[in-house]
């Protein structure tokens, strides 16, 4: 069931939580609402569910206007951030609740409810805990029960509020996999809220990045990462290396460092944003960039080796981070204190007061000294 959000505005007193939000969520997609706290993402989720009502705008499920519909009638599944399991009922009773409270003409017979509950519990692999109470469960188990309970009514829309926020990393990873599997199997439309960008990028078909009540960008995770459309999205998603400078002629300068730009026109105060994989390190500078750096730390974490670098002869607000492969590491053997030069291959130019970046690319042929490549 598709969800259409049209022009939603919500105020809490004088605080504007959502400003004219519009979003289309096609049937069967898993969409993440990503943003820092205060961005309005939970409020938006609750408005979709019907737990809050908007001041302006409409919500449509499959083309049908549900804005005036009470949450009880909307038949969505909702997973609360703190699970909201009924503490005085067993796990089985929790999961059966939605079916138990159906009006008598709609309610299936007790045996069938029991079967359905069993099936749901098996699905989240917690059948053996049916008679436990929520207080006896771990965080991850509670979350799975909350999920099973939300799915008990066979909703076509599943809404999750920071579902994995309170759990350890390993449990989070497992549960993410769960959710993805369930989603593939049952094809509901899911919307989940998170402030963890890794989670959002990993799970979602589409991510809506929100900030201060507005949607900054809606895109697939890949596009979002590769082509952030605003400074906020850039800053929020993943690590970024920034070179700030003044343009004179076609060169962006700061201190001893400079980068050649394609043209000389335009604003003079600029920032160049580069992701860690968009930069290469060389022992000599390239023709189009002179960015001297000193290695501060070498971290052999996971699939690549991460180097933390500080600028030499110029300044940046945050240390730079560049990743190299283990193969490169073994050849080069970088150490703390070594000097090298950063050579951008892709970079994003933003005017200091603007929001929209402009992507620059340099051809491989612009590198002068192949032998100097690491």
């Amino acid at each position: 069931m598709s969800i259409s959000i049209e022009g939603i505005t919500k105020n809490f007193g004088s605080f504007q939580a959502l400003k004219n939000i519009s979003l289309e969520i096609p049937d069967g997609q898993l969409v993440g609402l990503l943003g820092p706290s205060g961005s309005g993402k939970t409020t938006l989720l609750r408005i979709i569910a019907g737990l809050e009502s908007a001041d302006e705008g409409r919500i449509l499920f499959h083309g049908e206007d549900v804005t005036r519909l009470h949450v009880r009638e909307r038949r969505v599944g909702f997973v609360f951030q703190h699970y909201a399991l009924f503490r005085h009922m067993t796990v089985a009773q929790n999961v059966a609740f939605g079916l138990d409270v159906l009006p008598s003409r709609e309610r299936p017979p007790a045996a069938e409810i029991h079967k359905r509950v069993q099936m749901l519990l098996e699905m989240v692999q917690l059948g053996h805990l049916a008679d436990r109470y929520p207080a006896q469960l771990s965080g991850g188990q509670k979350q799975r029960i909350a999920l099973a309970r939300a799915l008990s009514m066979k909703p076509q829309i599943l809404l999750l509020d920071e579902p994995f926020g309170a759990l350890d990393a390993k449990v989070r990873k497992d549960l993410r996999r769960w959710l993805r599997t369930l989603h593939e199997e049952f094809h509901f439309t899911s919307v989940f809220v998170t402030h963890d960008q890794e989670e959002a990028l990993e799970l979602s078909d589409q991510v809506a990045v929100m900030s201060a009540g507005k949607i900054e960008q809606v895109d697939t995770p890949q596009k979002l990462y590769a082509q952030p459309s605003s400074r906020f999205v850039f800053d929020f998603l993943g690590q970024v290396n920034v070179f700030r400078g003044e343009r004179s002629d076609s060169t962006l300068r700061q201190g001893d460092a400079w980068v050649r730009l394609p043209d000389a026109a335009g604003a003079t105060s600029l920032q160049l944003y580069m992701r860690s994989h968009e930069v290469r390190l060389q022992t000599t500078p390239a023709a189009h960039a002179h960015l001297p750096l000193r290695i501060e730390s070498v971290s052999l974490v996971g699939a690549e080796v991460r180097l933390e670098l500080s600028p030499v002869g110029w300044a940046s607000d945050e240390p730079w981070e560049v990743g190299i492969t283990h193969a490169q590491f073994n050849t080069w053997q970088p150490q703390r204190g070594d000097q090298c030069f950063a050579v951008p291959q892709v970079a994003h130019l933003i005017e200091v007061d603007a929001h929209t970046p402009h992507t620059l690319r340099w051809e491989a042929g612009e590198m002068d000294d192949p032998a100097a490549m690491i």
Binding site: K10, S37, G38, G40, T42, T43, G50, E52, D55, H82
Partner: protein, 288 residues
């Protein structure tokens, strides 16, 4: 993270009539109806009655010598009883929270006895205990102190009936005290008294004051427990509640209302002050 708390707040909606949880209209209706009929209506009755009295007569009644004497007696005995209870209550709360000992559960339960025991029963019991030949009274007689039929008796009665208030207000605050603060101080060489004075007391004095206020409020109005032991002698051991009663029995409804209005206003002001104080300083609304 701030917004995620909205799940814990009462259902919010900027459109009244579209509340998520059901029963708003019904519970509002019942609550307002009940409060109006049971609480507000009778109070307005009093206001109307005293308003019809005429200012001069009103003033004359409430400043009558005997009545003023009763204000004084009531006020100072209540104050003293509350001070005593503050100390005793602190002791009991401390012992109940900090130590383990046989009989602790029983002591904890017994603290609520004055709350659950009818005031008349407390009244005759205390009167019997402190009578000249009573179990306690005999010791006091040896010392030449008379408790029954004196303000001392009033203090005893008020102290008994309002004992739970300080204990139950201070207990939760003491329970919430993090041991780390004290341990840090002790490891730095502070003596017990210093730790108490500079770390614990600052944390508990708001609760202590609230408890004191509640004791005081309750003691001002205490009737049943007091009248048996006090002797009720005008100007000496006659409390204001009794004065109202006396005027009623004289069929002087006007005077009774006038005095009652003073007591009512004082109680309401005191209640307001205590609630404001609690709202500012105490996280828990009703310490048990």
């Amino acid at each position: 993270m701030n917004r995620s708390l909205s799940g814990l707040l009462p259902g919010r909606s900027s459109q009244p009539g579209k509340r998520v949880l059901p029963g708003f209209a019904l519970s509002l209706g019942i609550s307002l109806f009940f409060i109006s009929v049971v609480l507000i209506l009778p109070i307005t009755g009093l206001v109307v009655h005293t308003a019809g009295m005429g200012w001069d007569q009103y003033l004359a009644v409430i400043t009558d010598e005997r009545v003023v004497a009763s204000y004084k007696v009531t006020l100072w005995t209540a104050a003293l009883a509350s001070v005593i209870n503050a100390l005793v209550g602190l002791l009991l709360a401390w012992v109940l929270v900090r130590y383990e000992f046989p009989g602790k559960r029983i002591m904890d339960a017994l603290v609520d006895l004055p709350f659950a025991l009818p005031t008349a029963v407390a009244g005759i019991t205390l009167a019997a205990l402190f009578a000249q030949d009573g179990w306690y009274g005999q010791f006091f007689s040896l010392l030449g102190i008379k408790v029954s039929f004196t303000p001392l008796g009033i203090i005893v009665a008020m102290s008994f009936t309002s004992l739970p208030f300080v204990v139950r207000t201070v207990q939760p605050v003491l329970e919430d005290q993090a041991p780390e603060d004290e341990e840090a101080a002790v490891s730095l060489g502070a003596s017990d008294w210093t730790v108490f004075r500079r770390i614990l007391f600052p944390a508990i004095w708001p609760a202590l004051l609230t408890g004191f206020g509640l004791c005081f409020c309750r003691s001002l109005g205490e009737f049943g427990a007091v009248i048996f032991i006090a002797g009720n002698m005008p100007y000496v051991s006659e409390i204001t509640s009794l004065m109202i009663f006396v005027r009623l029995q004289e069929f002087d409804h006007a005077a009774a209302s006038a005095i009652a209005s003073v007591v009512l206003m004082a109680s309401l002001v005191l209640l307001l002050l205590i609630n404001l104080w609690q709202a500012r300083y105490l996280r828990r609304l009703h310490g048990r």
